[in-house]
Structure formats: C-alpha cells, structure tokens
Subunit: 142 residues, 2 copies
C-alpha cells in the first residue's frame, strides 16, 4: 500500500460551476487517497459597503453559504465521500489559509474561476502572496 | 476500478529543490493514477542579453538542461516511473503551455518556487495570465 499523498483535502465552495468542478475532482481524490474532505465557505466581510447595506448583504451571504454548503455536502455524499463543513466569516483568502493551517490540510483544491471569493482568492492580484502563504499544496482545477 | 483522474502529467524541471519536490510528488501521482510522466525543461530565451553573452549563456543553459533532465529521469526511474523528456527553447511559460496542449496533458505539477523558470512561470507577475492560459489543472507543490 502506497503512503497516501493527501490526508486532508480542503475545498473552498462558492456555488459556482468552477467550484463544483473542483469539488467533484476533490471527491475523486479523497476516495482514491482515502483522505478526509473539508468544505469551506467564507462569508466575505472584506467588501466595503455602508452599514445598513452591509448588514443586509452579510445576512444574504450567510444564508447563501448555508445553502451551498448543504448542496456541496450532499454532492460529496452522492459521490461516496463524507465531508466536514466549515463556515467562516472574514477575509476569504485569510480564512481559507487559517483553516488549512489549523486543520493541518495537505491539499487545497480550487476552481480556476469563481463567482467571487474563490476567484479572488487564487487568481486575483494577490495570487502570488496567497500561493506563497498557503501552508500546503494547491491544485487549481480547469 | 475508478476512472483515472490523470492520464498524462507534465512536470517542468529546473534543478531546484522545489522542482525536485514537485517531481517526487508527480511520480507518486503517476504511479497511483497510472499516468504517463512528461518532464520538460525550457531553455529560457526571453532573457535580454547582448549577442555574445547570449550565445554563451544559452549554451550553458542547454547543457544545464540536459544534465538536470538526465537526473530527473533517473529520479523518476528510481521511483518506478518511466518518463518522457522534452527540452524546448523559448519563453518558459509559453513553451510549457504549448507542450501541455500538444501532448494533451491533464495535469501540470510545479514547485512553488524555483531557480528561475518555474518560479517565474507560476509565481511571477504573469501568474494570473498563466493559470488562465494553462489548458489543464495545475498543482503547486509546497
């Protein structure tokens, strides 16, 4: 038996088709490598909005997050993978990296584009810094 | 039997410890997923130098490329993986992407830093463009 390359795989989900593709790929990897699958959604609090808009917007995001997390978890189940769900609030990339560290993940699987969070996370202007900051390997799914 | 996720894996090598780590990881993936392993070294012709220096420098790079390609191929062999070696000349990122396309690779495995080529390829200022241009998934190894 080969030593497993991946023990804990983190997948940021945002409901986009890109993150769905990343999730499907991560499920196959998790099965093959007998890894634990962690799903993360981050309520993006870094968007500048005025106070009232902001409260309303964050409530929307929180509900959206719960909804897509439920869907992602059910997708994983259908693919034969049990997942753990994590919802965080804050700066998307920072929370993903913090979680990868605290959960001792050894792989982050992301789509190459996204509705917002995931796209900004890896392909935004801070991609250099982020790839450098990630404590583990990063797989960008096409 | 699961459908294999990776059929052809491309690893840019530059002799750095980062690319060696990526190579080791790619060998494990290749074994596990029964994928073909392609090693690529690109003689970087995009560096501006005066004509005489340039010829000398390119000769150096060509010899260096052959040397590290031989070493990489032997490392792969020791890990039980047969590899195909490709040496190209030109712009590093463009040649890697062209090869990934022409060889129909479905994964590129790179180190997160490198002596030059690989580092510039993924973590340089053009990382956004490159990640977008890659025809297949990209795994950045930490």
């Amino acid at each position: 038996m080969e030593k497993s390359l991946y023990l804990k795989i983190l997948v940021p989900v945002d409901g986009s088709k890109y993150s769905n593709k990343a999730l499907a790929h991560a499920c196959e990897l998790a099965k093959m490598h007998k890894a634990v699958l962690l799903l993360i959604y981050v309520v993006d609090k870094s968007i500048p909005l005025n106070f009232l808009d902001r409260r309303e917007y964050l409530t929307l995001l929180r509900n959206y997050g719960k909804k897509i997390m439920k869907k992602a978890s059910s997708t994983a189940n259908q693919r034969g993978v049990t997942s753990k769900q994590i919802i965080k609030e804050g700066n998307v990339s920072k929370e993903i990296i913090k979680t990868a560290k605290s959960e001792r993940c050894n792989l982050i699987v992301v789509g190459n584009k996204g509705l917002g969070a995931t796209a900004r996370f890896f392909l935004g202007s801070t991609s250099t810094k982020l790839a450098a900051d990630s404590p583990c390997s990063v797989l960008i799914i096409k």
